[in-house]
Symmetry: C2
Subunit: 218 residues, 2 copies
């Protein structure tokens, strides 16, 4: 049996705490981007809205490799409201997906669920109006759940894993912590936290070069 001094014990406790992943609020800087309302279209829906064989026009690349903003715009319509000039993102996807803020959803009288992109469970319905046609996009509308895109190297640097939940603190004049931000890891991603305009406004952040602070939840 060993006998430990108080100093030994203090050292052991500090060591256990440091290995436990608990932290006294250690935060690491991370870039943050704001996503405005937008829509991804399936090939069939794109053709229904813009015409058979239509090809979307790339306007500019987005931060995530391969993703781009198109010149085309559509209008969203419900019984209670409409929102014009909604951005179309490329490339096409398997399923049409409309990403709105809750502020937008209120205008349209919709109650979409908060979901990661690609998860359309219980997603809301909306009518989409294009220059050549109108469709009812059933189960297409979500509010994007805040998430972080990163490469495997980034994940190692931040000490996090794909699917993990972290918290992100943003804003100075109005500091807000988003408590359940999902980590998405892929070699095809570029490092960025994606939030929507409600989250940005709640923290009074805008424009480019927004810095957030990532913290691993205990």
């Amino acid at each position: 049996m060993n006998y430990y001094s108080e100093q030994d014990i203090r050292q052991i406790v500090a060591d256990v705490i440091s290995r436990s992943g608990l932290s006294a609020g250690k935060e690491m800087e991370i870039p943050v981007e704001i996503s405005a309302r937008h829509i991804h279209l399936s090939r069939a829906d794109k053709e229904a809205l813009f015409g058979a064989g239509y090809i979307l026009t790339r306007k500019r690349d987005l931060s995530q490799p391969g993703q781009y903003l198109c010149e085309e715009r559509v209008k969203l319509v419900t019984a209670t409201g409409e929102i014009a000039n909604v951005a179309v993102l490329g490339p096409e996807r398997k399923e049409t997906q409309v990403e709105l803020s809750l502020t937008d959803a209120r205008i349209l009288g919709l109650k979409p669920p908060v979901r990661l992109s690609g998860d359309l469970q219980n997603a809301a319905d909306v009518i989409i109006v294009g220059p050549r046609g109108v469709i009812t996009a059933e189960g297409s509308v979500i509010v994007a759940k805040a998430h972080v895109h990163m490469t495997p190297a980034d994940a190692q640097k931040y000490g996090v894993e794909h699917g993990q939940s972290v918290s992100i603190r943003i804003g100075k004049e109005r500091s807000v912590t988003l408590n359940d931000v999902q980590v998405r890891v892929s070699k095809d991603f570029a490092l960025a936290v994606h939030i929507d305009y409600d989250e940005a406004n709640a923290a009074r952040v805008s424009g480019g070069n927004i810095v957030g602070y990532l913290r691993k939840d205990g």
Copy 2:
């Protein structure tokens, strides 16, 4: 050399943890209310908008004693946009004050500061249109800083003081912590955290009976 009992060691561990800045995150429930955009009018501005000697019509009482929603509505106008049907609150105040969300401010092209009610330093300008007149309300527009109203008895219960900053966690599907919520203590207050619609939407809370969790910042 000393030999420590289990109880001694437990005490040492608790001591190390407490010095490490770690916290078990003790939170206390607190009711939360969402404030929509509204305006408080000075007597002179009220008369300019509604006519000499006009008396505002009480529609219903608000949660804070003495405050009430009026039947009257006004329109806000700037070079870039307008918002109609803005609620007027009573009673009159010494200075006209317009409280908007940042979403509203974007519609009007304004960049108001985030301020506690009554603090109009660097507040933005807006044109207010009433049924009998139009005024330019200079230095009147703010975005309300999130705050907690409480009585001295509440303050004692929560262990906080007037002017102190606390954090408030709200939302389930989308959990957000507002990090710098100001405590306002007065015997004339009723217990409630006041947030605006941007903060509510960022946390996906709405309607009545919203529960928040107050935590004293370290």
